[in-house]
Symmetry: C2
Subunit: 433 residues, 2 copies
């Protein structure tokens, strides 16, 4: 053990299982990424006043103008009552679960109904997933995840629950295959250790939605192997274009006449939340819909260590109960996202920088900078990332999203409140050529 | 797999590692305990209006009159600002950590200072402990816990982190040894799998505080084996008698001239919170003090899945910042607890029902009903528990607190808001003779 001290503190050790996951935000980048981000915060781009400032496009948070209205509503919730100060249902207070049910049935589901008794609400979608993996897997089991994927899935699944990701790569290297679900690719990656298939719809980092036909094919395949299917729909209400293309897993399984109804009820689970669609990641509110009663029962224990403050549950239930506000808020959000996305994609097209697919949802897209790599390696990707940082643009490297092809980057377009930074960022990227 | 459905839901399965811990609240009692509790809620004792109602003395929550003032203060916090709506520091917002530091230095520590940068604040003490065990142990490692102990430690340590409890029983069977820390008993229980010693001070379920001399002896022993020591001080500010007898681990290690300062900094950790001392278990606010920088660093990842809602952090920081309110609140709390405890112990003494030690802290004491057992077995304890339930008194059986001697029960005296139920409960218990 190292025996160093600094300022009355000592550099101790943590267990290997934890140390493995606490190296830093982006795979391998760790301290370097944190430094670029912190420097960016201190010298942030602002129109007119700091045009040479850093443009941070590396956080999937929505800070566009439309999201500021939420806090006013939160502050208007009626006084928190004394009888909610004690322990509450660890699956979430009934007031909140009823409000979430109402919200989901209006804004996520088309035909299905999410009943309050099938909903569990905990401190963010990360821990909702973690709990699912504790329930469906033993240590060392695995989960199929189509790549590219959200960079923190590795930690969400691995750090506490000890579940490994088995990446599903498209068999063809052509970029337009990314994000397209394919039974062949899944079958090629599958091993008997895989107990779960984790989908992200709308897709992160691609910003696309999965087609109904692809989802159905994949569901039938998953059923044939008795896999659990988790659909992470944390961006369900950030679809800003062709809204009807998005289909929730909850709808899909209620519409489909799958041969085994029992499998549908026990093995299909939908995750969604309010961090992204409401620009409220600090409130830590994530939800699970499942008709598997063993899960619901287990949550009475699992939910204890990730329960949401009752005062926040109370306030947020009040906000969600305002139908008109919620509908307006989401519509205005979609408008702002569409605007920012349009500004970005026009600039990219004008600069001749390709991106994957036709983004219509989420807070990001995936750009293809393979043309700027020195060679076809992740070392070259990292060098390119550093060059981008030195030009004042911070992106997420594709490596952190599980890519096997170097040269792609996730670009989050809604964290900077003023979308007029986006063409500036594109110019800076293009200037590297 | 069983293939049953009910009301559009299906009875699925969860992994063994989770199923083991989700059987119910009290060890082995499970559904039966839940039923007694729920029935109690529906027919609760009330002075004058329901004198034959159930008296629930099985939850360590403070609902005495004094705690109702907190909610007024919470509701007075100034408006939650929009810039706190996004992701916050997973160790807790700086506003809250500064307020917690100020609070701890006034009300928990006498000589030591808990600095904000050594504090981590998460969703309750349960998950704070869980995170510690993830950091200090690998799957299958063990933790020494003097028995009797808080009934949910098994789950807090075991369910996710996979750490087993090694019980430390007093070598002599005489009741007055319970709760007295002894190096001999610890040494007798120790195995090389033990990586941590978990103390609870003030003690749950005994309601006593550990003496400074005993703590020092145990610390020196733990150091000789390079064990981590966690002091769970969740009842630190519920000491209602002989307040100066309580010594926080943070004070102890700063006063002691232990030969190895590095061990002190890396291996001694203090847990405290606001669920008990503020009657606010629904807010889910627990804290860890540690000078081990590896822990602090790891919390940047671990804290993600158990972060407190930023709106609640904001409100609670405002409350803790009001020095006068906090001091008054704690003093009034102590007065109410002393009153309830006095009412209870007088009634017990009058009825000739023994209890362990001289309770001066916490929300409970441990009564000795061995004289009412049919025989010296846990089956007999369970029968007695059921007879008590049928008389309208719900207690926690000693078995759920890790006892090896049957016949003891934890009695929580602050969950029923009106302490005049306590002599009634004692009468009901005594009537079983």
């Amino acid at each position: 053990m190292r025996r160093r001290s600094e300022g009355g503190r000592a550099i101790g050790r943590v267990s290997e299982r934890i140390e493995r996951w606490t190296g830093g935000g982006d795979k391998g980048y760790g301290a370097e990424f944190a430094r670029a981000y912190d420097e960016g915060l201190r010298d942030l781009w602002r129109r007119d006043t700091n045009e040479l400032g850093k443009i941070l496009l590396c956080r999937a948070e929505n800070k566009l103008e439309s999201t500021t209205r939420l806090v006013q509503e939160l502050n208007q919730a009626k006084a928190f009552p004394a009888n909610k100060l004690g322990y509450q249902d660890y699956k979430g207070m009934v007031e909140l679960r009823e409000a979430v049910s109402r919200y989901a049935n209006r804004h996520i589901c088309k035909s299905a109904r999410m009943e309050p008794e099938d909903l569990m609400v905990s401190a963010g979608c990360g821990v909702v997933l973690e709990n699912c993996f504790f329930c469906f897997c033993d240590y060392g089991d695995a989960c199929l995840v189509p790549a590219p994927y959200y960079g923190q899935f590795g930690r969400d699944l691995g750090m506490r629950a000890g579940v490994e990701i088995v990446k599903v790569h498209p068999s063809s290297a052509s970029a337009d295959r990314f994000g397209k679900l394919s039974v062949e690719d899944l079958q090629a990656a599958y091993t008997p250790k895989c107990k779960v298939l984790l989908l992200t719809n709308p897709h992160n980092p691609l910003g696309i939605v999965h087609s109904k036909a692809d989802l159905i094919a994949v569901l039938r395949w998953a059923q044939s192997l008795d896999l659990h299917v988790i659909s992470d729909e944390i961006y369900a209400c950030s679809v800003y274009k062709n809204k009807d293309d998005f289909v929730s897993l909850a709808d899909l399984v209620s519409e489909l006449e799958l041969p085994d109804e029992h499998w549908v009820q026990t093995h299909c689970h939908t995750v969604f939340g309010f961090s992204k669609d409401f620009g409220a990641s600090g409130l830590r509110i994530g939800a699970l819909h499942s008709k598997n009663s063993a899960i619901v029962h287990a949550w009475n224990a699992l939910g204890y260590s990730c329960a949401i403050s009752s005062s926040c549950q109370w306030d947020f239930a009040a906000v969600l109960g305002k139908d008109e506000f919620v509908a307006d808020f989401l519509a205005e959000n979609a408008r702002c996202l569409a605007q920012a996305s349009e500004k970005l994609t026009s600039a990219l097209q004008q600069a001749g920088i390709p991106f994957v697919g036709e983004p219509s949802a989420g807070l990001f897209l995936f750009i293809d900078l393979r043309g700027l790599l020195e060679d076809n390696s992740f070392d070259a990707e990292r060098k390119l990332w550093s060059r981008l940082v030195s030009r004042g643009v911070v992106l997420n490297p594709g490596q952190s999203c599980g890519m096997k092809t170097p040269g792609y980057f996730r670009l989050c377009f809604a964290w900077m409140s003023d979308p007029s930074c986006l063409p500036v960022a594109v110019e800076r990227i293009a200037s590297l050529r």
